[in-house]
Amino acid sequence: MNASRHKVLSRLHLRPYLRPSQLAAAALVTTASLGFTAQALAEDPIKVGILHSLSGTMAISETVLKDTVEMLIEQQNEQGGLLGRQLEAVVVDPASNWPLFAERARELLAQHEVDVVFGNWTSVSRKAVLPVFEELNGLLFYPVQYEGEESSENVFYTGAAPNQQSIPAVNYLHDEVGVERWVLAGTDYVFPRTTNRILEAYLKDEFGVADEDIMVNYTPFGHSDWQNIVSDIRRFGSEGKKTAVVSTINGDANVPFYTELANQGVDAADIPVLAFSVGEQELTGINTGPLVGHLAAWNYFMSVDTDVNYDFIDAWIDYTGDEEAVTNDPMEAHYIGFNMWAEAVRKAGTTDVDAIKDAIIGVTVPNLTGGYAAMMPNHHITKPVLIGEIQDNGQFDVVWQTPSTVAGDAWSDYLPGSRDLISDWRAPMRCGNFNVSTGSCGGSTAAEEAEAALAE
């Protein structure tokens, strides 16, 4: 496609002021060529790519997201589709294999020529597909909370950035619970490491927390022997100051962690654990007894008491045919992302990628918690932040929430390198990492980032 060739060229030049005119030319050519084929294509369905692992370790989390998008497509088709065309799902299975994500993404964009892709869970898989989406000029809606420090022209981040999850959560612990000592425990990969770096800087800057009152701990994926760490946490928390654990422990490792906490007699009332990766879906495979009273920070809980949420849950139960089916935060993110994309398609009158990229900024759709989500110029959305306490039925009881929605910040204000960066994909800036102190755009580094992420 012309647009993609221009993009490659502009990356070689790296002169930002060249880009708008090039893009305009590209858009012109694209729309012109579309004009000819539109008639013929009117009967063809709009293709929606789904890039979620259906096998391998991440299948546990990602399978339901595939089902969610399929359900949303079905609902949209029942309402007559989009632009008079039906929607068709194209499902591929990247099998929890990060390099395979890039191959499958290429397959979706080049071979199936999908109009939009909903997909990915882990950060490393997102980094792996970034260069593909930028090269082939695709659209990716990414539904999971992540570490920030990224803004790609082709990616829309409908999950939470750090300032939409971890920072408000820490504020809650400090202001409402009175926590003075902090354990930052996480699985050893990019999301926990970046989040904990941000949190450490934030705790020291904002609350003046001393070094000895912060304990940072990383564990490998699927860690199952928590005896020593829990014992350390117990000792750390018995110094007379209120202590809390801020947990970015991922996936399967959570169950043995909470069980060990309960067995060693660490109670939520003494040392609460606030998790960023434990949601309703994760709780379905767990005996929730040991977890009761521990906390989680998300932008959506299944227990939220709104009509639109109940409608969504009913639709989901009908779709899955499972009376016990649960909904969770990334599902809501896909719900928002899908509706935003549909709205942008209606607004632009076409599924053309460049037209959608322009049209979607500022699009506002209802979220499931009774408010609205708006797409910001940095490709992040506005979200409320909720803190929930785990109940013994596997649901969360919302104990606190931000008074209004928070706009996602791609570049954290608490990290030295990213403090000066902003992202704005509107004309004339069109830059994901504009440095306000030097006044220049860093340009896309997707290829290098993907290489670095996959090398790990």
Partner: protein, 575 residues
């Protein structure tokens, strides 16, 4: 005025009740006054159950509000009420079992599993049969309220006739005693017969006295390993108590200690405590190491038979473990409400399932690949992927809930600084039993003799009349069955999901190679020592680095001694 019905002494209760929520003491007093007035008012009308229930309903009604602070006040009101059901309400509220039906009645849920729950009326206590959970709304609480409730219940339980309750209560009160509670507490200590409760209460009181600057309180705290005692002593030692004693209005102190005297005494007590803690910490690490080691041994010992004795590289070993874990889950589904029995029955069932799967693998694939290790490795790796995906599509990609029976949760308390988690202790014991049984089979039975004969010299054994093929099947079935047993045990420690096996396959090979291929003793020693090394390294190296260090250590060790810790000797080793 009676605060709680369970108490023998009226004066004790009045102050006990108001001590429940320290932060809400003023409020509690206010409520006390109000309720006193109300009581005087209604005293003449000495009324019937109906009135009583109406008042009780009002108390509960106040709980059903959205705001947590308001709920806190409602809890105080219940604490101050004269109602004999107060403790039941509070503990039901604490457990989330105090709920409200759609038609506004308050009920206590007796069992909240499944869709329909048996309930009883919170006011009359009469059983209402089963109700759908959709008809019930829980009265939610948060951590602050949970703390408040626990303290309130602890004060009530201090007068309970049930020893277990008194023990829990005394435990809870450590570090929570204030001036209001101190006086009645002294009386309680005098009357208390149980030594443990008494010792605990003395310590609880001593912490309070230490905070008031009494130097002889240190003697009561001497030697205690409880973290709250340590915190109190550390504060006293650092001199934090002095300022409070100086500024506070404490004239009635019996023994007015000099500030520095208090600090010195506390410091001395603290030093001996720290010494003691270090020893306990060492013991704790040892236990952690042995328990991790026992998991490694259990996962590896089946492999020690199939790989070590038979020489088959079975990459699907992890999935056989997974099958054992899923058997436990299936048994618990078959026997709902009896997780303990299901777990015990899973031991033979898990063995059988995994052994049958092992026979299928041996007959279906491995027998055709005898003497071709690379092909065996690839084929069994393929089987492992197939089994994983079968579980994923056949059962669910999600983890399954395996319930830990009551008698396996919690921990065995040795002292305040050392407690051993029960589930791991059972696994440790189970490992030793399985190991002993395997040793017996290999050393004392005909099967063991034949296995050893076939592995040492296949051709010779066959010419002596041993059916080598049958021995192959039996050995592989035995190794696989033991993997199934490991799965049953692991279901109590970690997730039961399709990936369970993957997490243990590398560790299993590591243990077998390190211990010496073909040697069961080697596997035991290697597993336990790797566990202990790992746990000693972990506190200062971190979990990730500890794992890497252990791996590097094994690589270096294998370079030096390629046949592992206990190499096979003699002609058998050459084959």
């Amino acid at each position: 005025m009676r605060i709680f019905p369970l108490t023998p002494s009226a004066t004790a209760e009045a102050s006990a009740g108001s001590a429940a929520g320290r932060s809400c003491r003023c409020l509690a007093l206010l409520i006390l006054l109000i309720s006193l007035c109300l009581m005087v008012g209604t005293a003449q009308a000495e009324s019937l159950d109906a009135d009583d229930n109406a008042a009780a309903l009002d108390l509960l009604e106040a709980l059903d509000v959205a705001s947590y602070p308001a709920k806190g006040k409602a809890i105080d009101a219940i604490v101050q009420s004269d109602d004999p059901r107060a403790r039941d309400w509070l503990s039901a509220l604490l457990d989330g079992r105090l709920q409200r039906t759609d038609d506004g009645r308050f009920v206590v849920v007796l069992d909240n599993r499944g869709r329909d729950w048996p309930v009883e009326d919170a006011l009359s206590g009469e059983s209402l049969g089963e109700m759908s959970r959709r008809e019930l709304d829980r009265i939610g609480i948060n951590n602050a309220l949970r703390n408040q409730l626990r303290s309130a219940i602890a004060v009530v339980d201090l007068y309970s006739a049930d020893l277990a309750l008194r023990r829990a209560s005394a435990e809870r009160l450590l570090g929570e005693v204030d001036a209001d509670l101190a006086e009645p507490l002294a009386g309680v200590i005098e009357r208390e017969e149980d030594r443990r409760v008494r010792a605990r209460l003395v310590q609880a009181l001593a912490i309070h006295r230490l905070e008031q600057g009494e130097v002889d309180a240190v003697a009561d705290l001497q030697g205690s390993l409880h973290p709250r005692v340590r915190v109190a002593l550390a504060r006293a030692a650092s001199g934090a108590i002095e300022s409070r004693a100086a500024s506070g209005a404490i004239e009635s102190r019996a023994v007015m200690g000099d500030d520095s005297v208090v600090a010195d005494a506390a410091q001395a007590a603290l030093n001996s405590i720290e010494q003691n803690l270090r020893i306990n910490r060492g013991l704790e690490t040892l236990y952690f190491g042995l328990s991790l080691g026992s998991v490694l041994v259990l996962a590896a010992i089946g492999l020690a038979i199939t790989f070590g004795v038979m020489g088959v590289i079975n990459m699907a070993h992890g999935e056989l473990i997974m099958l054992g874990a899923y058997t436990t889950w299936a048994m618990q589904q078959l026997l709902p409400g009896q997780p303990g029995l299901a777990l015990i029955l899973s031991i033979p069932a898990g063995f059988l399932v995994a052994a049958l799967a092992g026979i299928a693998i041996e007959r279906g694939v491995i027998q055709f690949l005898k003497g071709r290790p690379l092909e065996t490795l690839l084929a069994t790796f393929g089987i492992s992927l197939i089994l994983q995906q079968l579980v994923r599509t056949g059962i669910s990609p999600l983890n399954r809930t395996v319930i830990t029976p009551e008698w396996m949760s919690g921990s065995l308390v040795i002292n305040d600084a050392l407690s051993l988690t029960l589930n791991r202790m059972y696994v440790l014991g189970f490992t030793l039993v399985v190991f002993a049984a395997l040793m017996l089979i290999m050393r004392r039975t005909r099967l063991g003799l034949e296995v050893r004969a076939v592995t040492q010299n296949r051709a010779m054994a066959r010419s002596m009349g041993i059916r080598a093929t049958r021995v192959d099947i039996m050995t592989f079935a035995l190794g696989s069955g033991v993997a199934g047993l490991a799965g049953v045990a692991l279901s109590q420690l970690t997730n039961v999901g399709p990936n369970l096996g993957q997490n243990y396959i590398i560790d299993s090979f590591m243990v077998v190679v390190f211990g010496g291929v073909g040697n069961l003793w080697g596997t035991l020693v290697a597993g336990l020592s790797l566990g202990v090394i790992n746990q000693i390294l972990e506190p200062w190296a971190g979990a990730v680095l500890a794992k890497i260090i252990v791996l590097v250590f094994i690589i270096l060790f294998i370079q030096k001694r390629p046949r592992g810790l206990f190499p096979q000797k003699g002609r058998a080793a050459e084959g």
